[in-house]
Structure formats: C-alpha cells, structure tokens
Symmetry: C2
Subunit: 160 residues, 2 copies
DNA sequence: TTCATCTTGTAGCCATAGCTACATATTTTC
DNA sequence: GAAAATATGTAGCTATGGCTACAAGATGAA
C-alpha cells in the first residue's frame, strides 16, 4: 500500500516549477507577520499617548494582553528599528517613522472596520476581525474597500 | 521634561479596566496564528494529493516555500494533533479530521477569493491577500461575504 | 525621610518556526 | 546489482514571542 505514482512523473512536474507561485505568497505573509507586532505596538502607543497623555509599559501590556516582560523586549526591537524612543523608567515615545506607521495603521484599521460594518457585520466582530485582517490588506484591496464605501455612501445619498 | 500625568489618574483609569477589550482580541488572534500553519499544511496536502496523487515532503516544502526540515517538524506536530498520518519515507495522508479541516479551509479560501474578485481586485492580488486574510475571517464575516456575493450575482442576473 | 507600593528591568525557561550541515533511506539509472 | 541522484530524517543553530521569578528604580504616604 501507500504505493507511489512514478517518481519520474513527479519529478518532471515538480522540477519544472521549483517554486510554486504560492510559495512566494506564503513567504510574503511570513514577512508581514513580523511587521504585525510592530504595527500593533505603534498603534497602541499612539492611542495611549492620545488618551492618557503618555504610553507606559504597564499600559501597553494591559492593552496588548501580554506581560510587561514581553512588552519590554519588543520595545527594544522597535527601538532598534527606529520606531520608538525609550529611556529606562520613562514613558515611551514614537519617533517620526513610528508616528507615520501608526498613522497609516490607524487609517487602514478604520477603513477595514468601516468596510466590514458596511456589510452588516456587528461592531464587535468587525473590530475583532479587522484586527486580524488589516495586516494582510494590500494597497489594491484597501483601495477597493474605499471604493465600495464611497459607492455605498453615494447609494444612501441618492436614495433619500 | 517627559513629565508624567499624575499616577493617581492613570491608576484609576487603568485599574478600572485591568483588561481592555482589545487585549482579548489580540490574544485570540495569537491563538489563531497557531492554527494558520496547520490550515496551510492540510490544505496543501489535500491539494497535492488531488493533483499529484500523493503529498510528499519535498512537494510540501516547495509549495510552502520552506525547507524540508521545517516541513518535517511541522508534520510531526500535525501528527500529534491527529491531522495527518505519516510513516518514515512514505507519502503523507490526511486523517478524517485533517480532511475535514482541509475541506473547510478550501471552501473559505474560495469564498474569500471570490469576494475580493467581486470588488474588482486583480486575480493575483486577490489570491495573495486571501492567503493572509482567510485565517482571520470569522463565521459571521464569512457569511456576510457569501451574502454579498449572492446579492452581486442577483444584480448581474437582473441587469441583463 | 523612610517605607510600602507600583513600575520597570533582567535572567532564564519554554515553544514555534525558520535555517544549514550532515546522515541515512529510497529510487532511478546504467 | 551497484552507483548516482533524490528524498527523508536528525542535530543543532538562530530569532521571535510567550512566560515566571526575582531585582531594582520611582512614587506616594505616613
């Protein structure tokens, strides 16, 4: 049992395409993964700064659902990446690049949520799914969401 | 500088909500992350089995864009999770639960792609974004996608 | 000012997910 | 049937992203 098809055939098929198109997609998604956390952090820092006047390690930990240890280490990497400025025992500040990233994320997040809401998805689920989806929405797809929202708005306007 | 707001105020605000709603969302998404790889693997195994007659480690590696070592180790975990049956140096087979999971993933994937296509997103981008998005689409959101597709189809029918 | 409390930092553990290098099994080819 | 090629397996490295436990700094109150 477990008999194989002839290896010849398989090799021809596989050898002809040493890389599937999917392989590159998967790789890309894995790369995006690394960015996700950075995006979540800068977004949270921006939000906390706006809300509480400053972002601190404990606040971030609570917000992100991790311990302060995890926050600490991630902040170290964000600092190396140039997204935040931190000093020991002091509040966390975004750099220019961090602020820019946070801006983009926020806009994208809001667009995704609004788009899901326009499909009659409940606010709670829209918020939650957006959190997972937003990191994988390309420029083209985001633009399509915006188009759809604009069309829906136009529809509402014309129907009253 | 870097003056803090009064800690009192912060503590009250933070203390009142030891857990933000977002924290649970983030935690959930991290949990989903663990499933993503399992889903990608069973889907690839199902697809390769259908296409080539069997799924082998090298094929999976090529398809997923990783080395055979990574495939091997992940398969070990999938075997523990009861999704696949493997024997050394033999092809990989899905168990009943693996097959079921693959089925679900495939349907969801196709739905997401079709939905994105219906927004005039190019096939290439739709495929790629779907790969990242699909793992974070809840039942409710998936249902909304299906609704939208049905409505679009009805619109086309009635307009010709 | 000192003491208690809260916050931040550090050491070091675990699991996942990638890798290279090397060893072994299987398959194909001659 | 032996050699070459391919596939699979294993050892052990890296980085990420969780954690607990403990140490040390900062703040607020007595």
């Amino acid at each position: 049992m477990a008999s194989r098809t002839t290896s010849k055939a398989r090799q021809v098929v596989a050898g002809a395409r040493p890389e599937t198109r999917q392989a590159e997609n998967f790789r890309q998604i894995r790369r995006e993964h690394a960015h996700e956390i950075a995006e979540d952090y800068v977004e949270a820092i921006a939000d906390l700064s706006a809300t509480l006047g400053e972002a601190r390690v404990v606040d971030l930990a609570r917000r992100l659902g991790v311990t302060h240890v995890t926050v600490n280490r991630t902040l170290a990497r964000l600092r190396e990446a140039g997204h935040v400025n931190t000093k020991p025992y002091r509040a966390i500040f975004l750099t220019e690049s961090g602020r820019k990233l946070a801006e983009e994320c926020k806009r994208r997040h809001q667009t995704v949520v609004a788009f899901l809401r326009s499909l009659d998805i409940s606010e709670k689920v829209a918020e939650k799914d957006a959190e997972g989806i937003e990191h994988h929405v390309s420029q083209e797809t985001l633009a399509a969401f915006v188009r759809h929202l604009a069309a829906a708005a136009a529809g509402i306007r014309s129907s009253r």
